[in-house]
């Protein structure tokens, strides 16, 4: 029987034609349902109940079922369903709790057939049995589901959801006796229609109400649920415990979900609030909808695929009082507009960058890999035709490896730790910092500190010898700033932070290009991305191993022509890095910057402050002669700070800012200062220099920064026994009444600092453990683990 009907419907489907079109209803719709013949649709709402014929060009109103003198609440529909076997049979759920059936075959104007007033609260959902002509199921706010036999006056059986409101009920398409119901408390229950006493299975599917569910039309075990928590989940019910197989995160609570016919992995959703669009998702690609219909101006309340075997027609009703037919080919595809670009740092400073292939393709002339390790490597992957979105946007992935040693930031760490920022007279601070810088071989910085001292400390106090010395030294070094175009000679003077040890050989900046589908984000591709972190030989081997998948390409002239396309700016310095030309000054500069400058600062690194350095020299002369007030220099100092910041040495900028305090602060605008502080603190924290970063936060004068110390000072703990959060006190669990953290040495509760071994998870008071481990290397708890304290 079932097969028969399927065959006939499948045949008729071939004739389906139509356009994207809409028609205006008189009132907001709450639900829609399609007739078996796919030529009629019924729309129901609080004050509308009509049948429309779907014609080639338009909707035509066929029948208004809302007849009678007085408006009755029985006609205020929350849901409507059309029987999938009997074209004349419809059922509606009324907001006052009545279930009404309608027989279109009745000769009179009033087609109302039967009235069931058994539910005490609003009925949220009605559902016909897919293959049984007389069985109707309803789910209501009062927590009951009722099964009606249309040949009888009242319900056959009642299923109790234990006082939780029922939001949706759906008969399984494949299992004759099974239906699923969803509840306001997040549960989903599975019932056998013959056993009203208890449900077969229950599980919590969502956090908050589950508004809807839909059985997969082909796959027996799959049930899709949508909830207020903005998720659509697909459950495999064939296993012993319901298993979540897919999860789609949407941007608003999910009101309806409907599997797309003939497309195993597609489903359509619309949302309850805020978002008016209808999305069609590929559940395997849960981040970007496969298609999107944007016709409605208010929330969509009902969706239905026009024909059970035609994937291209979707009908929808909405609160904006329109009924729409959407054609899949007219849908907008967010993927087309997406810009698949990504940038990520690896653990050891490697950088991966993925961009649309069309952009990278501009670098023409890739040649087969020749074995030169210094060249970026490109991989091309064969497209998998089975993958969705294939060819829509393929992207290229480049991976840049750090040159060993060049990324060393020890100077940064040393400087940060040894600089003195406050607590002493200015002159001493400057001297100290200058000394620190010099010891680290950063003569330019040392020079600057000395100059600051000269400028801001009263000239009388500066011994002339010292002054002479500093000026002399500056000139003997040739004042780095002045000579910045002559960096080759300067390299020694500049010290390690800008020196590149080219002689050490290969810049192991390897670039891997992967041609693949747009979604590099996901599984299979991840492996390759990970792989590229390791030295290139490994990659090579890998590539040879499966060269049906990967082609190696060599970008010999990758940078011979300047690319004319627009890329995110931060990419440029890195691109320079891999140019295989003699190390020019520009290159050097970028090389120095790239490891420690985040984002925008890198690309603006300019060589502009030529004149500032020039004047710096003349200034020191002027000072010598006429003793100008320090204010005179503040503009210069500010320029100097900006220069450092732009160079990427935000450490210098912030340190000077703190040391000089009021003297320069007013001349630099709040926002810039804040920006510097934030970058510096960020850097410090990346190097785990918590103490320094805290000191900087404390010394900063900008409000936005100093309040960082006040933010998120709460630490939440879970009990180690029952794994529940410990709400009131940090050391005693309210639920299991046990002290959670005992010191393994003194066996008392630890209320302050608790340190524990990550190997055996024993621990205790910081002092106790430290002391213990001085004398013994075994765990104090006696578990035999060799604990290590560092």
């Amino acid at each position: 029987m079932e097969k028969m009907s399927r065959v006939t419907t499948a045949l008729s489907s071939s004739a389906l034609t139509g356009h994207t079109m809409h028609c205006h209803l008189d009132a907001p719709a709450n639900a829609i349902s399609v007739c078996r013949d796919a030529a009629q649709v019924v729309v129901a709402g609080r004050s509308i109940f009509k049948i429309y014929a779907i014609e080639e060009e338009q909707f035509v109103e066929k029948l208004n079922l809302r007849v009678g003198r007085k408006p009755s609440l029985n006609l205020s529909c929350a849901d409507v369903v059309w029987h999938q076997m009997d074209e004349n049979l419809l059922a509606t759920a009324a907001t006052n709790g009545v279930v009404v059936t309608w027989n279109l075959g009745r000769p009179s104007r009033n087609k109302q057939d039967q009235l069931f007033t058994e539910h005490k609260r609003t009925v949220n959902k009605v559902c016909f049995h897919p293959s049984e002509a007389h069985v109707l199921l309803s789910g209501s706010q009062d927590g009951f589901m009722k099964c009606f036999d249309l040949r009888r006056k009242d319900s056959v059986s009642t299923f109790s959801g234990q006082s939780e409101s029922v939001r949706d009920v759906q008969f399984s398409i494949r299992d004759y006796f099974t239906f699923a119901s969803t509840f306001e408390n997040g549960n989903v229950q599975l019932w056998d229609i013959r056993r009203p006493d208890r449900c077969e299975r229950m599980f919590t599917a969502h956090n908050g109400p589950v508004f809807c569910c839909d059985w997969h039309p082909e796959d027996r075990g799959w049930l899709a649920t949508g909830g207020r928590d903005k998720m659509v989940k697909v459950w495999d019910m064939t296993t012993q415990r319901a298993k979540e197989v897919h999860c789609v995160q949407t941007i608003a609570s999910v009101a309806r979900v409907k599997w797309r016919p003939e497309c195993r992995h597609h489903l359509a959703t619309c949302s309850m609030m805020v978002d008016h669009n209808i999305y069609v998702w590929d559940v395997r690609r849960p981040f970007v909808p496969a298609a999107m219909f944007e016709e409605h101006r208010d929330v969509t309340t009902g969706i239905a695929w026009r024909h059970p075997h035609d994937p291209s027609f979707l009908l929808s009703g909405s609160k904006d009082s329109t009924l729409c037919q959407h054609l899949f080919r007219d849908a907008s595809q967010p993927v087309e507009r997406a810009n698949p670009e990504g940038l990520c740092y690896g653990l050891f400073g490697d950088l991966a960058f993925a961009a649309k292939e069309s952009l990278v393709a501009a670098e023409s002339g890739r040649k087969p890999y020749a074995g030169d390790r210094r060249q970026p490597i490109f991989f091309k992957r064969k497209l998998d035709p089975a993958e969705p979105f294939a060819g829509l946007a393929s992207s290229a992935l480049s991976v840049f490896e750090m040159e060993p040693g060049s990324g060393s930031m020890s100077w940064f760490v040393d400087t940060a730790e040894r600089y003195a920022l406050a607590g002493r007279p200015l002159a001493e601070l400057c001297d100290h910092n200058s000394k620190v810088a010099r010891e680290l071989g950063r003569n330019q910085v040392a020079q600057t500190w000395t100059m600051l001292r000269i400028i801001y400390c009263s000239p009388g106090l500066v011994p002339t010898t010292n002054l002479n010395h500093s000026v002399g030294k500056g000139s003997s070094c040739g004042l780095p700033l002045m000579n910045s175009f002559n960096l080759k000679d300067m390299a020694q003077g500049l010290g390690s932070e800008t020196r590149l040890d080219r002689s050490k050989g290969d810049t192991r900046s390897d670039t891997v290009l992967l041609d693949s589908s747009a979604t590099l984000i996901t599984n299979e591709d991840n492996e390759e991305t990970e792989g590229s972190d390791v030295p290139a030989d490994y990659l090579l081997g890998d590539a040879e191993g499966e060269d049906d998948e990967l082609y190696l390409l060599d970008p010999d002239h990758a940078h011979t022509e300047e690319p004319e396309y627009v890329l995110p700016q931060e990419a440029f310095p890195l691109r320079h890095e891999i140019v295989d030309t003699p190390p020019g000054p520009e290159n050097l500069q970028d090389k120095a910057d790239s490891p420690h400058v985040s984002g925008s600062e890198a690309d603006v690194a300019s060589l502009a402050p030529m004149d500032s350095s020039f004047s710096l020299v003349s200034v020191s002369h002027a000072l010598y002669d006429s003793r100008l007030p320090p204010d005179f220099f503040s503009a210069l100092v500010c320029d100097m700070l900006r220069f450092y910041a732009e160079q990427g040495d935000v450490q210098m900028a912030v340190s000077v800012l703190i040391v000089l305090g009021e003297r320069v602060r007013k001349d630099i605008d709040e926002q810039t200062q804040e920006h510097w502080y934030a970058s510096y603190i960020d850097l410090l924290q990346r190097f785990c220099l918590w103490n320094v970063s805290n000191q900087v936060v404390k010394l900063s004068t900008s409000r936005a920064i100093s309040c960082l110390n006040q933010a998120s000072t709460t630490l939440h703990v879970n009990c180690s026994h029952c794994k529940r959060p410990m709400s009131s006190r940090g050391w005693v669990c309210d639920r299991c009444h046990r002290c959670a953290s005992m010191c393994a040495v003194c066996h008392h509760v630890v209320k302050g600092l608790f340190v524990w071994c990550q190997g055996c998870s024993h621990g205790g008071h910081l002092q106790h453990i430290m002391k213990w481990l001085e004398g013994s290397s075994h765990c104090p708890a006696g578990c035999g683990h060799l604990c290590e304290y560092s």
Binding site: S76, T95, G208, M273
Partner: protein, 551 residues
């Protein structure tokens, strides 16, 4: 001398570590004794005329401290603090300085002190709640002490309130308290206003703002209109109101801020209802909560007078209660009988559709005639009146003034589906918290009614909830409003109506005259239902307007 208050750091007392509390207390003790010592020496030396002012100032400062100590000695959940505070007070008294004593009769004027849980005798769960509340606010307010009748609800309530006032949110802290003050002032609730004035100043609010809304930033002034509408006629809120707030150039609100503000406003409107509905007394350390007058002078008590419950009247009520004790016993029986009947005959008697519709209209219309007969106008205290612009603007019933308000159908816009999603989208986590609070309030039951046990009260609770929504024009399609008439008698309706619409007019007589046989905890339970239903109704209207603005 004005910094007297600031020298003492109370926050150490909130610590859960007893050693920290100990040092903090010792600190306080020293400061206070020094001050007291200093004051006494000033007194002993015949005063120099120029010193008169600062003397008064320092006395004032000390008195504030003493009042705070008094509060701690009574209301701190930690025993050590209570004892030590009392000890300090005693030693101050020994120095010959007058110490305060609490006024009134415990946390609530309506509920005898002995019925209310004493601090110190709470069980572990309640103690945890108290400690939480104390740690967050540095006090244990009377509202908490009354709500602790229902600890399950209290926990959710405190969590929500804590989140709204102190956790992440789009509004700055002092704005939040100021909005609280604005909202409470709409109902002339001096209790809440006083509390939040302190908090407002504590988080660094500008005391100038307290001189009236016109001294606050334009942005907050713009909120005044919404505050007024929400408190008294929420059904008039349209998307134009929302638009005005959101598009006011440099004074405009962001959507997230607005939702935060709306939640705060509704929270404090309904909390004001609770304050009046349960007759919450002023906090001990606030004005009107304590006196320095020795008890022997006379038994005259300001708060009692202004609230119209002299001890004489109380006696009358009591005697009246005695007379009708058999009456009221009958009341409970009758109510239960009605519930039983409704339960049974529900399936038999089918009201027609028109009948159902008209029942709602009748109830709606009737609700406006239900008004307390005693119209003793309480003149608003000077302190608060400055926060409102026009006092005349109060609750107005639907068909008065010839305006027609379309009925709000819950099936089209309800909290669970729509309101929640909107709030959670714009102010993450709060939707969840409020949702939980609504749930707990709506589903709370101990299956008892007065002296009866194992009663299903869901029908009664639903009737109360829906009656309140009905007053706001919110209709449930699936509810038979005839039930309300059967279950809620007139004196109860008067009480509900007064609390929800004009809470400032509630008197002890009203509180006593409904449900005479019911326990106080049950009356507090009713109040919880009332305030949550009111909050939801206000939220629904405000959120619907925001939704309409967004679409």
């Amino acid at each position: 001398m004005a910094e007297g208050e600031h020298e003492v750091r109370w926050d150490g007392l909130c610590s859960r570590d007893s050693a920290t509390r100990e040092t903090a207390l010792e600190n306080i003790r020293q400061v206070i004794l020094r001050k007291a010592e200093c004051l006494r020496s000033v007194k002993e030396t015949p005063c120099r005329p120029s010193d008169g002012l600062s003397d008064a100032g320092s006395l004032d400062g000390l008195n504030k401290l003493l009042a705070h100590l008094l509060m701690l000695s009574k209301r701190c959940p930690f025993k050590d603090v209570r004892e030590k505070s009392e000890f300090i007070l005693k030693s101050v008294q020994e120095l010959g300085i007058r110490i305060p004593r609490p006024l009134g009769h415990g946390p609530s004027r309506f509920i005898p002190e002995k019925e209310i849980l004493q601090v110190g005798s709470e069980d572990a769960q309640m103690h945890a709640l108290f400690a939480d509340s104390f740690a967050a606010l540095g006090r244990l307010d009377n509202i908490t002490l009354v709500m602790v009748f229902h600890p399950q609800y209290l926990e959710s309530f405190l969590k929500t309130q804590h989140y709204l006032l102190q956790m992440d949110g789009p509004l700055p802290l002092h704005y939040r308290h100021y909005i609280g003050i604005m909202a409470a002032a709409r109902h002339q609730c001096s209790y809440l206003v006083n509390l939040h004035v302190n908090d407002f100043l504590h988080v660094g609010g500008d005391s100038k703002w307290l001189n009236g809304l016109e001294n606050a930033p334009q942005k907050l002034q713009n909120l005044g209109e919404l505050n007024k509408l929400l408190a008294h006629r929420p059904w008039l809120i349209t998307k134009e109101h929302i638009e005005q707030l959101l598009k006011a150039e440099e004074h405009s609100w962001s959507l997230a801020e607005l939702v935060h503000a709306v939640v705060l406003l509704t929270h404090y409107h309904s909390l004001a209802s609770f304050t009046f509905g349960c007759g919450i007394s002023p906090e001990i350390h606030c004005d009107g909560g304590h006196t320095f007058r020795p008890p022997s002078v006379n038994n005259y008590c300001i708060c009692d007078i202004t609230n119209g419950n002299h001890s004489v009247e109380e006696n009358q009520v009591n005697s009246a209660g005695n007379v009708s004790i058999s009456d009221s016993f009958f009341e409970v029986e009758a109510l239960m009988e009605k519930m039983r009947q409704l339960q049974e005959c529900r399936d038999e008697e089918e009201a027609s559709q028109e009948e159902m519709a008209s029942r709602f209209e009748i109830e709606k219309r009737e609700s406006m005639f239900v008004f307390s007969s005693d119209d003793d106008e309480v003149t608003p205290a000077r302190e608060i009146s400055r926060h409102f612009e026009d006092t005349s603007y109060g609750y107005k019933d639907f068909s008065r003034h010839g305006m027609h308000v379309p009925t709000f159908r819950v099936q089209d816009y309800c909290w669970e589906d729509h309101g929640y999603s909107l709030v959670n989208r714009l102010y993450p986590d709060v939707g969840q918290l409020i949702d939980e609070k609504f749930h707990i309030a709506y589903n709370l039951t101990y299956n008892t009614m007065a002296m009866h046990k194992d009663v299903d009260t869901s029908m009664l609770r639903r009737a109360i909830w829906n009656y309140i929504h009905c007053m706001f024009g919110i209709r449930y399609d699936d509810y038979d409003y005839g039930e309300i008439n059967q279950l809620l008698d007139r004196s109860f309706k008067v009480y509900i109506k007064t609390i929800v619409c004009t809470p400032e007019k509630v008197t002890k007589r009203m509180y006593d005259s409904f449900w005479r046989q019911f326990k106080h905890s049950e009356k507090v339970h009713v109040n919880l239902l009332l305030i949550e239903a009111r909050m939801q109704a206000e939220l629904l209207y405000a959120l619907r307007a925001i939704t309409r603005y967004m679409t």
